[in-house]
Amino acid sequence: MYTLRRLGLLVALCTGCAPMTFSNDASIDFRAYPNLSVELGGPDGSARQSAYLESELREHSGFRSVTRATLPTPEPASALLSLELSVHSSGGDDLILAILTDDEPDPITYSASVSYRLSARDGRVIDSGAESEEDESTFNSAVESVLDDVVFHYLRAYRL
């Protein structure tokens, strides 16, 4: 009986629910800059990557609205995010040599880097930074990974 009581006490103790919170503080004051305009440039910035960035910022960032800088908007953007994207590939240089010598060619890897600057409507720089990703297996994954880093920087505040 005593053993059963001790076992019951152990079970009760081990089934008590603990509070645990995941939280994130916003990197900028999103209430002051609710509407964002995005301009993705640089040697490897394209419409496809711009659309990806807008979509991810819309879903995950703290900005209330995200639009492309080149498109007309119903209300003026309170901030402009300008990005310069570049992608480099490495490996695969000795492909012909590898084929001739029957060696396994080095896999091609991609690295991407982006620098960004967030400016207010009056041109004042609110925030700036740079991100990079290396050793990605495809061009698109390198680009999306580095753009994800920018989205992560502007992640909305949460408390879950």
């Binding site: 076992l7 152990l10 079970v11 103790l13 081990c14 089934t15 008590g16 629910c17 603990a18 509070p19 645990m20 919170t21 995941f22 939280s23 994130n24 496809r48 659309a51 990806y52 979509s55 991810e56 879903e59 995950h60 698109n140 994954s141 999306e144 994800d148 880093d149 989205v151 992560f152 992640l155 909305r156 505040a157 949460y158 408390r159 879950l160």
Partner: protein, 209 residues
């Protein structure tokens, strides 16, 4: 485009989980010393053949546990694989974390995965009961929030197992977060109220070896 992002997040998570699984598999399948019993009843050590060596686990116990973490406002079911030899045991955990209470800050309820790795000591080990104490880490990959969101904690942990049957047991664990990254807080609720900084889980364990 959005689907592409989701798929990539999935593939990254699966790749991380695969790495973890490979690490466990390589630990369990280390070439070891097989025990053979002679006709005299004495144990002798025999070197295994190279071909079969990979199939002989060096562990003297291998356990799998399905467990449930007791969290306020969240559901966290998971599995644990444990392999041990003598006093030492390596435990690996994989759990799935969802919100059970809706939040204004997140449209979806799925948050991501918890990965845990622990080096445990087993000071008590008997037929009906064993106790393990150890240290490890909890890693939360919160890709349900965003692919880059992760939190980590240094975690002391106690595991008690009761074995009413030879191969089937009940597992109770308790852990706390000694050091943790800024975005995870055990013992604090969403509304700021505090509670005990101890996370309990209960599970059912199957002994393979």
């Amino acid at each position: 485009m959005y689907q592409c992002g989701i798929l990539r997040r999935w593939s990254r998570s699966i790749s991380r989980l695969a790495t973890l699984a490979c690490a466990l598999a390589s630990l369990l399948c280390l070439p070891g010393i097989a025990r053979a019993e002679t006709t005299t009843g004495l144990d002798v050590d025999t070197e295994t053949e190279p071909a079969s060596a990979a199939l002989v686990p060096s562990a003297d116990r291998v356990l799998a546990t399905g467990q449930w973490f007791w969290l306020q406002g969240k559901a966290m079911p998971g599995i644990e694989l444990a392999a041990g030899r003598g006093l030492f045991e390596l435990d690996l955990e994989l759990s799935f974390l969802t919100l059970t209470e809706p939040s204004r800050d997140l449209d979806a309820s799925f948050l991501g995965n918890q990965l845990g790795a622990f080096l445990m000591l087993t000071p008590l080990r008997g037929r009906y009961f064993d106790l393990n104490i150890g240290l490890g880490g909890d890693l939360y990959l919160l890709w349900g929030i965003q692919s880059g969101v992760s939190e980590a904690a240094l975690t002391p942990r106690v595991v008690a197992r009761i074995w009413p049957f030879e191969n089937l047991g009940l597992t109770f664990t308790a852990r706390s977060y000694l050091l943790h990254s800024g975005g995870v807080d055990l013992g604090t609720a969403r509304d700021g109220s505090s509670g005990p900084p101890l996370l309990f889980s209960t599970g059912i364990t199957w002994r393979f070896l």
